[in-house]
């Protein structure tokens, strides 16, 4: 049984008729048309979206509108995607980030300080 609110005393009935299949950490789940990754996972009773890069502690959604970045997951191989702002698509592969060995030790030590300095970088460096 999932966590859906099908009938509501004021709002219209929402029958959830168009299933979408996606995976989270290798397991298959069903979402419905209109779901974000965050809502689809919560409907499937999944609250732990990732483990903190440094402490390894479990984290889930917090603000659900894109401000807090607590719900960041890996989507089709791309890191740091906000689960609350991203609609589920058929066949989407969603994965949790996990604790890193040295999260606060980036290879790069100097960063552009102004927008002009950023623009002066090559495209490759800008994307780093």
């Amino acid at each position: 049984m999932n966590n859906r609110i099908i009938n509501h005393p004021i709002l219209d009935k929402q029958p959830f008729t168009e299933p979408i299949n996606f995976s989270f950490n290798g397991k298959l789940y069903t979402a419905y048309e209109g779901d974000t990754i965050a809502s689809a996972l919560l409907a499937n009773h999944i609250r732990i979206l990732r483990f903190h890069e440094q402490s390894g502690k479990a984290r889930g959604i917090y603000c659900n509108i894109g401000h807090c970045f607590e719900c960041r997951v890996r989507v089709n191989g791309q890191v740091n995607i906000r689960a609350c702002l991203t609609k589920v698509e058929e066949g989407m592969i969603v994965e949790s980030e996990t604790q890193k060995a040295a999260p606060l030790d980036p290879k790069k030590t100097t960063f552009p300080k102004t927008y002009a300095e950023y623009l002066a970088l090559g495209e490759e460096e800008q994307n780093e």
Partner: protein, 404 residues
């Protein structure tokens, strides 16, 4: 190069209304929002008006979106704006996660975000902002849990608690957040009581309603806090506590319980009064603040106005900022309800159209629209802060002082 007359950031009530207004004046409009649905904070709003009718924000959002689409506003969702730069007069480049957009005018209608209210344990999965629970429940139609508790007593938490209850979710109670880790504004019983009395006319409980007429006397408010019932004040069957705080959230890798403690009228904890309550989710309600980072990246001047919810970019009643071609509307100008945001959006739209067309008929319509904002404000059944008018005057005065 494809250049728009106006780029609007934020597809909430203000942005949508402005887009509609601009299209009616034949401007070329792009409306950008990072959320997958247009509507902003309208999405999820569901409350009963004074006359017994229901305000359904999702329906309002759909109607506005449909009107905007029919008028061929270019709506771009799931697109985040992180910077706006001005290259010359009437030339703005909007930087997004999917390339740039060029426009002659920019309207920043980014709305509001929820203030954090840290309580030990608040990073556990199952702890979320009250607005998160609202969107999950009413928009996505997903239950955030079976039995929850709320930290933060304010207009938003009381309204959304009711919405969760309507969706069949059990709410244990509404309490203050830990006074040792949050601001006095949020956790001091007397300060919170002060604010609540201004909402009391909305309450179904006759006791609280009675409170609103008595509340003009300070000593009554003090007495009410002093003798606040230990079982809380029930509203729709949910107890509201002004003398209890959630001091800790417990669980190994998700929420399992909270620790409540009684507090004195001055906000200090009563040692030995702790009790543990089993819940599977916790909502944190720290109130709203204007979301103004984009205005800051553009170099717009700000004024801190607590009555309006935080740092406000300077602007006038026509929604103009000190940078020509840059406008703001909606909750970025101060925390108020969605109806006011829509009216402000119309004003901003007319200001932009007037700048483009220099047409006296538009200027006349704008004057009427400004009056309409004030009328809507005066009629609002929900006021987020009793001193909104004073706050707005402060911003307006600063704006004109700057303009000389």
């Amino acid at each position: 190069m494809n250049k728009y007359d106006v780029a609007i950031i934020g597809a909430g009530p203000a942005g949508l209304s402005a887009a509609i207004t601009c299209r009616k004046q034949a401007l070329k409009v792009v409306l950008i929002d990072e959320f997958p649905y247009a509507g902003g904070r309208l999405l999820g709003q569901l409350y009963e008006e004074g006359d017994g009718t229901w305000w359904n924000g999702i329906e309002e959002a759909e109607n506005l979106k449909k009107e905007a689409e029919d008028l061929q506003v270019h709506i771009q969702l799931e697109r985040s704006v992180h910077h706006i730069e001005q290259t010359k007069a009437s030339s703005f480049i909007v930087h997004t996660n999917h390339g740039t957009v060029n426009a002659s005018n920019v309207l920043i209608a980014t709305g509001a975000a929820e203030s954090p209210c840290p309580i030990p344990g608040w990073t556990l999965p199952g702890v979320m902002s009250i607005g998160a629970a609202q969107v999950m429940t009413n928009l996505h139609r997903v239950k955030v849990g079976d039995r929850g508790i709320i930290a933060g007593v304010n207009i938003l938490s009381v309204a959304i608690a009711r919405e969760l209850q309507l969706a069949g979710i059990d709410i244990h109670s509404i309490n203050l957040p830990n006074p040792q880790t949050t601001s006095k504004e949020d956790s001091h019983p007397k300060v919170v009581m002060e604010k609540l009395t201004h909402l009391a006319h909305l309450a179904p409980s006759s006791f609280i309603r009675m409170g609103s007429s008595l509340a003009k006397f300070q000593f009554i408010r003090d007495l009410a806090v002093q003798f606040y019932p230990r079982s809380g004040m029930p509203m729709w069957g949910m107890p509201i506590h002004l003398r209890k705080a959630i001091i800790q959230i417990n669980g190994s890798d998700q929420v399992e319980s909270v620790t409540l403690a009684r507090i004195r009228p001055d906000g200090s904890l009563i040692a030995g009064s702790e009790e543990e309550v089993a819940v599977d989710f916790v909502c944190i309600a720290g109130g709203l603040y204007p979301l103004a980072e984009l205005a800051a990246t553009m170099g717009l001047p700000f004024q801190y106005v607590p009555e309006l919810g935080g740092h406000i970019p300077l602007h006038n009643q026509a929604m103009e900022t000190p940078i020509e071609g840059v406008y703001i509307a909606g909750n970025i100008t101060g925390i108020e309800n969605a109806k006011i945001a829509m009216k402000q959006g119309t004003v901003a739209g007319l200001s932009i159209a007037y700048r483009q067309h220099q047409d006296e008929a538009i200027e006349k319509a704008r004057r009427t629209a400004i009056e309409d904002v004030e009328k809507t404000r005066a009629e609002a059944s929900i006021q987020f802060d009793p001193q909104i008018e004073e706050g707005r005057k402060k911003v307006e005065a600063k704006f004109w002082a700057l303009e000389g």
